[in-house]
């Protein structure tokens, strides 16, 4: 149950960060050109969104970290599995588990280093350039995202150990190009 909530939360966070960042930059551009229009000028000049770029970057950094964790769960991360799939099943299982644990190890180490860094930063009162947000909040994306990713790797490894199934993202499937149901191209009509 708790896991389901975590899954949903993860999805909601990354999807809304993506949408918010896009809208933010769109608004920033509109604002920049809108200020040049005489009758909009009085309204737009009161608005200061010079911090938009910075916020956009931070949103995407958070999105990238959590999205990477989500990607582990859905198997979107690309790897070279050509050789592994040629191995005998027993050996293959071992190699796959080794790879998954390497992933968990790496993300754990990175998360821990990030955490140490954030704790040090917390003591310094540093703020970011435009937003003047505390730097440690911004940087906590690294430990939070990495630990979540580590957890996801272990989760995938556990499922693989139990059922032998790996999450797999089908590269050849492109949504929206369902050509079978699409009307035939103009020229093909006989």
């Amino acid at each position: 149950m708790l896991l389901r909530i975590l899954d949903r939360l993860e999805e909601i966070i990354i999807a809304s960060l993506m949408a918010a960042a896009t809208l933010l930059i769109f608004v920033a551009v509109v604002h920049r050109y809108g200020t040049g229009v005489p009758w909009l000028y009085p309204y737009f000049i009161q608005l200061h969104i010079s911090w938009a770029q910075e916020l956009c970057i931070y949103m995407f950094v958070w999105m990238a970290k959590f999205g990477a964790a989500y990607g582990v769960r859905t198997g979107i991360h690309v790897g070279v599995d050509v050789l592994v799939n040629q191995l005998k099943p027993v050996l293959r299982n071992k190699v796959v588990l080794f790879a998954l644990f390497c992933g968990a190890l790496f993300t754990f180490v990175v998360g821990t280093m990030g955490l140490k860094f954030v704790i040090e930063l917390y003591a310094t009162d540093q703020v970011s350039a435009d937003l003047e947000a505390p730097r440690w909040i911004v940087f906590s994306a690294v430990p939070a995202g990495s630990y979540l990713m580590c957890f996801r790797f272990l989760q995938v490894a556990w499922t693989f150990w139990k059922t032998g199934a790996l999450p797999h993202h089908d590269e050849s499937h492109v949504e929206g190009i369902e050509l079978d149901t699409a009307p035939p191209p103009q020229g093909a009509a006989r």
């Binding site: 896009t22 950094v61 999105m63 790496f106 050849s172 050509l179 103009q186 093909a188």
Partner: protein, 323 residues
């Protein structure tokens, strides 16, 4: 020697089937921890600052735009347009594939997931007027690479960012400046079109020689209808390139604008997808961009290791000494 260890480790780790990003990062970590006294804490900082760059943020925006285009049926209409234009020539479907890859791939700006491309030429193939399976696959596989030349191309964004701060020397010892994203985009247009026409010519020649079946010629009215239907998709290229070239937008802003534009087109103009499909598209684009950004971050780590171990210099020395 150092280079051998690093690349050996990287290749071994990659071959276990772990994500490429993890393999890159783990190589750096292992090497730094075991063989050098570079503080590993520097790595954690790099993981954040590696993508703390506004130019890189063009990648998620272009991916989002591309996903809206495919889900919103823009892709399908552009293929239909391409088919109506060149479908009646020899190997017309292959040509349509090339044209579609050139424009639509440029629109997508995506290099990942090229496998999806083999579905593009299906409708025509099913109609019985297609090329042999092997030829179709070959055409699409080769022209799928056009997307990295014809803007907006994510590869160019990554290249520009990666080389942005670097100092490079030409053989005469002069400083070589790296190119901006806009310059790279512009530089890609002509070679991209040349390559596309060469691919098209090859396809045509092969089809002509083997006398593959052709499709009936589309009438001007049909062409025009197909063009009118796909105009919104074609306009996107104009907006992105025009915006960057005239200096109206930075590449990242152009990417964000094209994402919003593609959203409006998909939901309100073509109406192939409803508002309820938007979260799914957002999620898909977010996870795809997160995957790419994660590779970029770890690649930054890797290049940090390269620089601190002076691998490029060693390789240059090795190449010049053995020549």
């Amino acid at each position: 020697m150092t280079a051998t260890i690093i690349f050996g480790l990287l290749i071994v780790l990659m071959l276990t089937g772990m994500p490429v990003s993890i393999a890159l990062g783990l190589t750096v970590l292992t090497y730094l921890f075991a063989l050098t006294d570079v503080p590993i804490e520097a790595v954690a900082l790099k993981l954040f600052t590696g993508i703390e760059n506004f130019e890189i943020m063009a990648i998620p925006f272009f991916i989002l735009a591309g996903n809206f285009l495919t889900h919103g049926g823009v892709a399908r209409r552009m293929i239909a347009f391409a088919t109506s234009m060149v479908g009646h020539w020899y190997g017309g479907l292959g040509l349509a594939g090339v044209v579609a890859c050139a424009f639509f791939r440029g629109d997508l700006g995506l290099f990942a997931g090229d496998g999806g491309r083999d579905r593009l030429d299906r409708p025509a193939g099913d109609g019985g007027a297609g090329l042999p399976q092997a030829v179709r696959c070959g055409v699409i596989a080769t022209s799928g690479a056009l997307g990295i030349l014809i803007p907006p191309s994510i590869v160019m964004v990554i290249y520009s960012v990666a080389t942005g701060g670097s100092i490079a020397m030409d053989p005469q010892g002069n400083r070589v400046l790296s190119a901006s994203v806009g310059q790279l985009f512009m530089a890609g247009v002509i070679p991209g079109l040349m390559l596309a026409s060469m691919l098209g010519a090859t396809t045509w020649y092969r089809a002509w020689k083997n006398d593959y079946p052709r499709m009936p010629k589309a009438s001007w009215a049909e062409c025009f209808t197909a063009f009118r239907k796909s105009i919104w998709g074609l306009l996107l290229i104009v907006i992105v390139l025009g915006g960057i070239y005239t200096g109206a937008f930075t590449p990242t802003e152009a990417a964000a604008m094209s994402a919003v534009y593609a959203f409006v087109i998909a939901v309100f103009v073509y109406k192939d997808m409803g508002l309820k499909d938007v979260p799914r598209v957002l999620l898909g684009s977010a996870s795809m961009s997160a995957m790419i950004l994660y590779i970029v971050t770890n690649a930054v780590l890797f290049s940090f290791l390269m620089t601190s171990e002076q691998i490029p210099q060693q390789m240059t020395a090795w190449v010049t000494s053995s020549a």
